[in-house]
Amino acid sequence: MDALFTNAFLVAFVSGTIAASLPLLLAGLGEQMSEKAGVLNLGLEGMMLVGAFCGFAVALETGSFLLGFLAGAAGGMAVAAMMAALCVALPLNQIVVGIALTLGMQGATSLAHHVLYSRTFPRLPRQPEVALPLLSQIPVLGPSLFTQNPVVYLALLLVPAAAWLYRATNIGLNLAAAGSKPAALDLAGVSVTATRAFAVLATGALGGLGGAYMANIGAGLFVPFMTGGAGFMAIVIAMLARGRPAWVLGGALLVGFATSITTALQVAGFNIPTDLVLMLPFGTIMLVLTLFGRRAGLPAALGLPYHRGAR
């Protein structure tokens, strides 16, 4: 047991938790916005994959991590634009379109990877980190928590920013109305289509950013299917968060913790079958769902296309 709790191990463990949580946090915050506005965005996994691929490809070509992240967000938004066109503007069934987009993007990114990188398997160099002054001097927590890529700080800042957006702005009111009673929003003179499209595009940007983080920071390379269900986990986290951004952070950290402990246990040489250990994050999600799923309190119009005049 003693060997398990060395400083080096703890630093690796905490930064592992953050690395695993961050894509979930970004994607979860995005999904939460869509769900608030009444769109169940099952294309999230596809948006994250495209974000991961675009982010990696651009960072590799330009050598710029900033451009890589911007490309990741743009890639996610491009998929989200399809989702918005099909499910918000037309509007078609969100579940069917969402699943189709995820499956389609899994294929598209795998194909692109096969064509471009399957022979060379390029890697990105290690990313620049920003150590926060003073805070990074704290033992264990300093090097693990406060020495991170700027995207981490951005994602953490998004939590209070989203909470403020929902609580104190007209955009927040419009999103809530679009998800709870779109007809009321329409009568108030605000376009339900525009409100929902905005939410879906924001989801795409955040999901794409999360994917780019996975590829560029987490792994340093792109492999097909690399998101491995993170998009779906983010959807579950967003559903359980009942519209509260802080709860998304909590959920993402919980799953990140389970993922990280998987690695940690393997490193520590625990004699547990790997397959069992790898199931831990999914088991956590299922446990959380059984415990809290019934009280998810989702918006009334979630998943329902809005047609003006139909009751």
């Binding site: 104190a168 702005t169 007209n170 955009i171 009111l173 419009n174 809530a176 109305a177 709870s180 009673k181 007809a183 009321a184 929003l185 009568l187 108030a188 003179g189 605000v190 918006p299 009334a300 009751r311």
Partner: protein, 523 residues
């Protein structure tokens, strides 16, 4: 156009002769229907203009044109004497016309003040302080009290409507259109609404009050316009209305609605009792409790051919009592005996098969599957049973024949049994449901608010249907919030108050007063 020139006290007679809004010659066609035919309608400051007519008379179309939801095919709209076009709800608001729609437009998950702030440009700050001030100002004007931070969905229907009125006047609108505002309210809520309308009229607002209830129109309206089959059947100006006695006014309006000499469909009359004295009780309810306190210690008996009315302000456990009797809600204590047999633990289907039929008040929600054909809905409670199913397979010809028979017998107006039931009007859906519950061998009809939301003709049809059932020996429980309905049909009337039966009153000349006392919790 008749003009008020007498000595009445409304704004129109004080010389404010330019109407706030004037509709003239409004015509609107829908495929196959002339919904509005050359209708003219004025809204004057300081006046409650009641718009009366049966379902389908064109009231809703006229309101939709006034609030910008629909565009007229021809006709002229003037606001403050200037011709205008109301192309959208937003235009209507800009022109100072605020509308309270029949269906709630509040977002149930948002607070009252958030609902009121909804609809600003997205880049603007919320301006919560200003909104709170405006809310306080309008609540004072209306004489109501609203908690700005209460979630809209947690308010009573009456309070929600007050918020809707505040919302309709939010941007300084001077015209308030209320589309059937009393249909969802308790008697007390209706009373409060009447006071709010009177206050607004006294401050010079122009109010349109749509209703199909004569008594409300007489109680709250200054001017009355009657629509019939899309045409304006007539208008009674304030001077004339205030000169008439209530009975004369009633007679005059009925003449306009139904032609000369029609009897008041709302006049109290009592059905002759059809109980056979020697019959044993069909239903015995002993100390029944259900719904976590919603129904507490309820006991009564019911004989074949008897109608037991259940009165009470809405929400005092009537619905839970009905569901417990129908088997949809588990009895937590007590016993239910039906035809001498203990049915307390029997499931819904078994009770139905025994002849206990529940006519729900939620016609579209639990009464029907809207997208299914009428024929299918009519056998919905007998799925799998012969003769409509054989060996697990549906027999469409039998189902359709059964449907055609019930459609004919119960006068359901529909193109055919294959039409989705949700396309029918409320009155016709109710007729179909009566057909379904009374087919086979009914022994007890449990009717929950059977005339709620129906127009005069369909209310009549539903009430006749219940008395006919009782005359045929079916025991009936009639849950209603309409006192005159209970007085017309019931042999005895039980009053529910906070989940208990506060008392059971034999129907007779003194019943009304006794029920009134029990309804508000008096002994």
């Amino acid at each position: 156009m008749p003009e008020g020139t007498g000595a009445a006290t409304t704004g129109a007679d004080r010389g404010l002769d330019v109407p706030l809004v004037r509709l003239s010659g409004i015509t609107k066609r829908f495929p196959g229907v002339l919904a509005n035919d050359e209708v003219s309608f004025d809204i004057r400051p300081g006046e409650v203009h009641a718009l009366l007519g049966e379902n389908g008379a064109g009231k809703s179309t006229l309101i939709a044109i006034l609030s910008g939801v629909l565009q007229p095919d021809s006709g002229r709209i003037e606001v403050n004497g200037r011709p205008v076009r109301i192309a959208s709800p937003r235009d209507a608001i800009r022109l100072g016309i605020g509308t309270v729609y029949q269906h709630s437009t509040l977002v149930p998950t948002l607070s009252v003040v958030q609902n009121l702030m909804l609809g600003q440009r997205w880049w603007r700050p919320l301006g919560r302080a200003a909104a709170l001030a405006r809310l306080a100002e309008l609540s004072a004007l209306l004489g109501v009290r609203v908690d700005p931070d209460a979630t809209a969905g947690s308010l009573s229907l009456g309070q929600q409507q007050q918020v809707e009125i505040v919302k309709a006047l939010w941007r300084g609108e001077r015209v308030l259109v209320l589309d059937e505002p009393t249909s969802m309210l308790t008697p007390q809520g209706v009373e409060e609404l009447g006071q709010v309308m009177a206050r607004l009229a006294a401050r010079g607002f122009g109010i349109v009050f749509v209703s199909h209830k004569l008594q409300e129109v007489l109680a709250f309206g200054h001017r009355v316009t009657v629509l019939k089959l899309g045409r304006k059947a007539g208008e009674i100006p304030p001077a004339r209305l205030s000169a008439l006695s209530p009975a004369e006014a009633t007679a005059e309006i009925l003449d306009l609605m139904f032609g000369r000499g029609a009897a008041d469909p709302e006049a109290p009359r009592r059905r002759a009792s059809t109980i056979r004295a020697d019959d044993a009780p069909l239903l015995e309810v002993e100390h029944l409790s259900a719904g976590e306190g919603a129904v507490q210690d309820v006991s009564f008996t019911l004989r074949p051919g008897e109608i037991l009315g259940i009165a009470g302000v809405d929400g005092n456990g009537q619905k839970q009592l009905a569901e417990a009797l129908a088997g949809q809600l588990r009895a937590e204590a007590g016993r239910i005996r039906f035809a001498g047999r203990d049915i307390t633990r029997l499931p819904v289907a078994r009770r139905h098969a025994l002849g206990l039929r529940y006519l729900t008040d939620d016609r579209l929600g639990e009464g029907t599957v809207g997208g299914f054909a009428i024929g299918t809905n009519l056998v919905m409670k007998r799925v799998g049973e012969p003769p409509f199913w054989a060996g697990g397979f549906e027999r469409p010809a039998r189902i359709a024949a059964h449907a055609r028979e019930l459609i004919g017998r119960y006068d359901v107006r529909t193109p055919g049994p294959e039409v989705p039931i949700a396309t029918l009007s409320g009155g016709n859906i109710q007729k179909a449901l009566f057909g379904r519950e009374l087919s086979g061998e009914p022994r007890l009809l449990l009717a929950n608010k059977p005339t709620y939301g129906l127009d005069v003709a369909n209310i009549r049809a539903a009430r006749d249907r219940i008395s006919a059932a009782a005359a045929a020996g079916v025991a009936c429980i009639l849950i209603s919030t309409e006192l005159d309905e209970l007085l017309e049909l019931s042999d005895r009337i039980a009053v529910m108050y906070r989940g208990r039966i506060a008392g059971i009153v034999g129907n007779g000349p003194d019943a009304e007063r006794a029920i009134g006392r029990l309804m508000v919790g008096g002994a």
